[in-house]
Symmetry: C2
Subunit: 366 residues, 2 copies
Amino acid sequence: MKREFDVLFAHNEFKAEAFLDELRGKKPLFVLAIATTETGKIPGISAAGKMPEFTDYTPPADAELLLLGRCKCINGVPVTPDGIPTPALISMSAIRLADVPVLVCSGGLKVKPQIPFMDLGGNPGMDIRTGNSVDNVQEIIDRAIIAGENLAKGADYLVIGESIPGGTTTALGVLSAMGIHAMGKVSSSMPENPHDLKAESVKAGLAAAGESFGSLRNNAVQAISCMGDPMMPAFAGLVMGAASEVPVLMAGGTQMTAILSIVNALKADVLCNVAIGTTRWVTADRSSDICAIVKEIADVPILAADLDFTGSRFDGLKAYEKGIVKEGVGAGGASIVAMATTEGAVTKEMLLRDIERNYALLMGLK
Amino acid sequence: MKREFDVLFAHNEFKAEAFLDELRGKKPLFVLAIATTETGKIPGISAAGKMPEFTDYTPPADAELLLLGRCKCINGVPVTPDGIPTPALISMSAIRLADVPVLVCSGGLKVKPQIPFMDLGGNPGMDIRTGNSVDNVQEIIDRAIIAGENLAKGADYLVIGESIPGGTTTALGVLSAMGIHAMGKVSSSMPENPHDLKAESVKAGLAAAGESFGSLRNNAVQAISCMGDPMMPAFAGLVMGAASEVPVLMAGGTQMTAILSIVNALKADVLCNVAIGTTRWVTADRSSDICAIVKEIADVPILAADLDFTGSRFDGLKAYEKGIVKEGVGAGGASIVAMATTEGAVTKEMLLRDIERNYALLMGLK
């Protein structure tokens, strides 16, 4: 696989290389789209919280960590049931090393972060098994487009990340409603990917909505309304508004394929300005297949930060090498951006040292 | 008075000229700080609404006009009781001529705008006559500082405007609590400046709070809490966060002197990076004296857009020459920025033509 700095060109090599070239030495803005959904509380679906209710705190805590360097709405940092820390640690370290400005946008939250954030007018998401999971989709998209257009005027390019527990399940929901074959291909924050549980939840949702596989192929707004989460209209609108003016790196794992499908349906002409940025843990994952899903939608390039925590002195970070967490809060994209902005001066080794330092500091470790 | 483009150096000429030079051809970000306060509903205090209750709609409507080019939460545009249109028309025309990005921040609102906006965690303001007018001041300031720091990374400089009916009365309140002699010197959106009514309201507020003139000289946060409005901690925090990194043009009339007093008390070292940008209607106003108030606090330069609506074909705009409205929504600063960004290609004549075009379009005039 071709590479430059510590960035792998995981799919569509030539375009990926050209895209990275465009970012070198430029001034990015990192936007984090957050939301919560009851879908993330389906038992066994997400590793984002110790308890289902904790998933309401994960996105605001991630946003606080990114912007302030520490959480306010919880103690410490978000962790999985096994104590593995949030990927926001990676994103925070990366954007601080490269001095990248951050803006947080909410598509709908149960718990609000104690930081400045942009409200896009949405509500917290409902369980997709009801077939009615997001309110107000068109309005959130319209507002996010306006925000994206304005933010693009103040940056050379945008990198957009997400935080929403349960997000790969809602991604599977939207992809299925839009006729994309993603069953068994979306990734998971857990080492054992609960594909069956996700598939069941999506089937229940489609049935409850009176829809079927592909029946909303030409209605992305309705697909989100029935089967998505509130992060999606925020994220997709930001991409549509910004990518008509500047390059946009969509920072995330297989959830990005749902965004891709939405943008492809609503404003395909901006996709020439779009790439997906993720981690090696996602592109190398055997329990999911981001490339296969992307190919079925629109063949944008995929870049992957070649992060390697094998040698970490902390078990909580080493666990990433076992396929736990993998991605989130734009961790892969933020790492790519840190490398590109500094023309490679930020390496994966430097990043790991900084992540370890921040982890120790925030968790009171030595 | 010295001038460059159609900008007057109204106070502190040499610094004003140097400040304008710094902005030439650079990339600004326009931030609008909005909030509402019950103070604006004191009968006779503000021209911002037809009825006191309408003042809850003015700031969100102004923000919508700025970002979308039209209002959503009301029909048409905000007007005074005599039908004189909001200065947001000027700001909107100016920032569109110069393609300036816009971000809206709320310090506390009763009616939310139907656009993307940044929430700084505040509540709508109370009547200053209670002596307890703003909740949560320190928290809003802290969040606004974080926002200002991040926004400054994505722009060459910031221009910050405000929209809050009743704002000169709360300005007088904070200035008085902080020991600045501003009685009879704050401006008004009405041709007859109700100085007595403002003074009475401030006296009532100070008494209710158990404070007196100058008793909060060293406690800006408490001065805002007792006598201010929620726009102030948002605006002041943005200035403190941004001006430590880039120049900041505080866009407004005599309300800016209250912000100046707050920033001077909390972070005076950033003031070398700060100027006030307003309109000729404010600096030439005989019923107020912005320069005198500024001199008493910290001698920052004042720039004034030399707008001239004498020759307008619309009575609603001609009325600005009679001292109605005068300033607001950063109209003067936005005009200065449009001229500076385009190196003078945007003139006051061009601006008036564009304002007339937008006014006719939005009001259905011919």
